[in-house]
């Protein structure tokens, strides 16, 4: 089974990375480095593909962020749930697909399946091909936004289907959730769908994280920074 490198030495040295089918929840307050951390974990290494479901920024901004992180944009796709509401005429491409709004779970599900199918058919990366079966990293850059538009029970069922599909195709999923805006019931329900939780907090302007759910990896708080898609654990 394929193992996805996390780029975090504390994980990769102990477990080799994330097992295929792992779903990772990043619980983080606003203004933390959660987005950068999620993108660093989603950034495809050579041979891999990445798909971002963007519920809070435009596809162009996501692609820029991945470029800064050093990702090959030919292997990065975005399902954009923001742009279409202001630009209804915008057209899908193999790597950029648009849904009308974050409420449109039907559209999100279809575009997710279509993008995966495009990857499997080898029509994703301008004639370039990665490994086969394709290792796919998937990121939802905010479950919080989806929760603003849809009820928890509905979203739970939807994410249940999405995480199960990701397991079936042996991908890895990274999901960001703002832990200050939702109650404990919401957090614990979403956690049930995940294999691993990374909690993020800020203390004295320093980002800290603690990893839970990966055997052998310490659950202690660690200071970290993210620069150009590289996560560094600080002393």
């Amino acid at each position: 089974m394929y193992t996805y490198k996390s780029g975090i030495a504390q994980i990769d040295e102990v477990s080799g990375g994330f097992d295929a089918g792992t779903n990772i929840l990043i619980l983080a307050p606003p203004m933390s480095a959660a987005d950068q951390l999620a993108y660093a974990l989603t950034k495809p290494v050579p041979g891999e593909y990445a798909i971002v479901l963007s519920t809070n920024e435009r596809a162009a901004e996501v692609i820029d962020a991945f470029k800064v992180a050093g990702a090959d944009k030919r292997f990065t796709g975005v399902i954009d749930a923001i742009t279409k509401s202001s630009t209804p005429g915008i057209t899908d491409t193999a790597r950029l697909m648009f849904v009308s709004s974050p409420t449109d779970l039907t559209g999100i599900g279809i575009k997710f399946s279509n993008m995966i199918e495009t990857i499997f058919e080898g029509n994703f990366a301008d004639g370039e091909t990665g490994l086969f079966p394709p290792p796919i990293r998937f990121c939802v850059n905010s479950i919080s936004t989806l929760l603003m538009y849809r009820r928890l029970e509905v979203l739970y069922q939807f994410l249940h289907v999405l995480t199960a599909k990701l397991k079936k195709i042996e991908g890895v999923g990274v999901y960001i959730l703002n832990n200050e805006s939702f109650d404990e019931k919401t957090l614990s329900l979403i956690k049930q769908l995940m294999t691993c939780v990374i909690e993020v907090k800020i203390e004295q302007n320093v980002n800290m994280m603690r990893i839970r759910g990966i055997p052998g990896v310490s659950g202690e708080w660690m200071k970290f920074s993210v620069s150009k898609g590289q996560v560094t654990i600080l002393p």
Binding site: S85, P88, S100, T103, T106, G109, F120, Q157, L162
Partner: protein, 390 residues
């Protein structure tokens, strides 16, 4: 009757959906099946029916644009006057009424007013947000009550819903909400990797068995699709003749055999568009030396047909071996006894006993040179495939 826009489906329904019906298109997450609703809408408009489209999750412009981009220009939809209730209208109601009950009342009044003003024949509803807001029963009642209030008009209600609750919701809709047609659109990984299919879960106006039909989206329409039927049998039993006679576009790989006559040296291939189904047939070579390949041919098949020569009893032991290989796959399967137009044919009962096949496996006496025989076998096999629970 209102056509679904999918000929194969209309035929199963008895030429379409009767006026005044309640219809649910239930979509499993991730299945690209929005074309079912669009096709039905397009057909209703082509027949000059007055249509109301309720889409609380998007604007009219975004909807029209999506339809055009995804499924090509649909002149009926582009040109015909359609009445819309879109996300802007829905937001207005959300702002004006504080309670869900108030919003439901206001929405119902608005729908009824639109139906009267526009003399609406068919209401198309994108249901997700309304289901979430009011619950399945109350959200459905908003529209069914309008149907009942305007009973003489026989308004048809067609709902598309992202079904996150699975069979439980379908049962409820059929049993308690009295829907007339429930079509569950799903995807599966077996027996063919990642194929989509629709299941006729319930029809109130006909006594039909539940059917599941695989489909693809192509040329801007839903195409019922059977990706692989394997035609196998002993050498010289008539497989290539069957495939070539069945196919609109077939390719035989027969070559002259050392022992005289012709023999298949690789796979025969046939593509058929039959009763709106796209079907591909794979005819295997009959010699034992190719048997190691047979499991992989059968691997993703949705059905199999064994052809045997009715005039050659020596083929039966070989045919029995092939029956055992097919039976392991647990797929719909039939036997065609070929060359029945020749003298000295074997008794079908003897063949059934020798091959040790049960009564449920159909045996057909045919001549593969007669297209009518070939079509009859295909029709029966497709019927078995659509009734099979994969």
């Amino acid at each position: 009757m209102i056509s679904t826009g999918i000929n194969g489906l209309d035929e199963m329904l008895g030429s379409g959906i009767p006026e005044g019906s309640r219809v649910l298109y239930s979509l499993e997450p991730g299945v690209d099946a929005q074309l079912f609703m669009i096709s039905t809408l397009s057909c209703a408009l082509a027949k000059k029916r007055s249509c109301l489209v309720v889409l609380p999750n998007t604007t009219v412009d975004a909807f029209r644009n999506d339809v055009q981009r995804m499924y090509g220009e649909r002149p009926d939809l582009a040109l015909a006057p359609v009445t819309f209730f879109d996300s802007v209208d829905w937001e207005r109601i959300q702002k004006s009424s504080k309670s869900p009950e108030g919003r439901a009342r206001e929405l119902q009044a608005r729908i009824r007013k639109l139906c009267r003003e526009q003399d609406v024949d068919v209401i198309f509803v994108y249901f997700d947000l309304l289901n979430e807001e009011f619950g399945t029963d109350a959200a459905t009642a908003i529209f069914t009550s309008v149907q009942e209030m305007e009973r003489e008009k026989k308004i048809t209600l067609i709902i598309e819903h992202l079904n996150l609750e699975g069979l439980q919701l379908l049962d409820h809709v059929i049993r308690d909400l009295k829907f007339d047609l429930v079509l569950a659109i799903r995807s599966s990984f077996r027996p063919f990797p990642q194929f989509n299919y629709f299941t006729l879960a319930h029809i109130s106006w006909a006594n039909l068995p539940s059917r599941s039909v695989p489909f693809i989206i192509g040329e801007g329409r839903v195409i019922p699709y059977i990706p692989r039927i394997v035609v196998t049998g002993p050498a010289s039993s008539g497989k290539s003749t069957f495939v070539l006679n069945a196919a609109d576009d077939g390719h035989s790989v027969d070559r002259k055999a050392q022992e005289g006559g012709m023999t298949t040296v690789a796979l025969d291939f046939g593509w058929i568009r039959w009763k709106d189904f796209d079907i591909t047939l794979y005819g295997t070579p009959g010699q034992e030396r190719f048997d190691s390949l047979l499991p992989s041919y059968l691997g993703h098949a949705m059905g199999a047909l064994l052809i045997i020569d009715a005039t050659n009893a020596d083929q039966l032991p070989r045919a029995r071996l092939l029956v055992e290989m097919i039976a392991r796959r647990r797929i719909p399967f039939a036997v065609a006894i070929n060359k029945c137009d020749l003298p000295g044919t074997l008794d079908p009962g003897l063949i059934r006993r020798t091959l040790a096949i049960g009564d449920k496996i159909p045996i057909y006496q045919i001549s593969a040179t007669r297209k009518s025989d070939v079509n009859f076998v295909l029709e029966s096999l497709v019927d078995s495939i659509t009734q099979f629970r994969f």
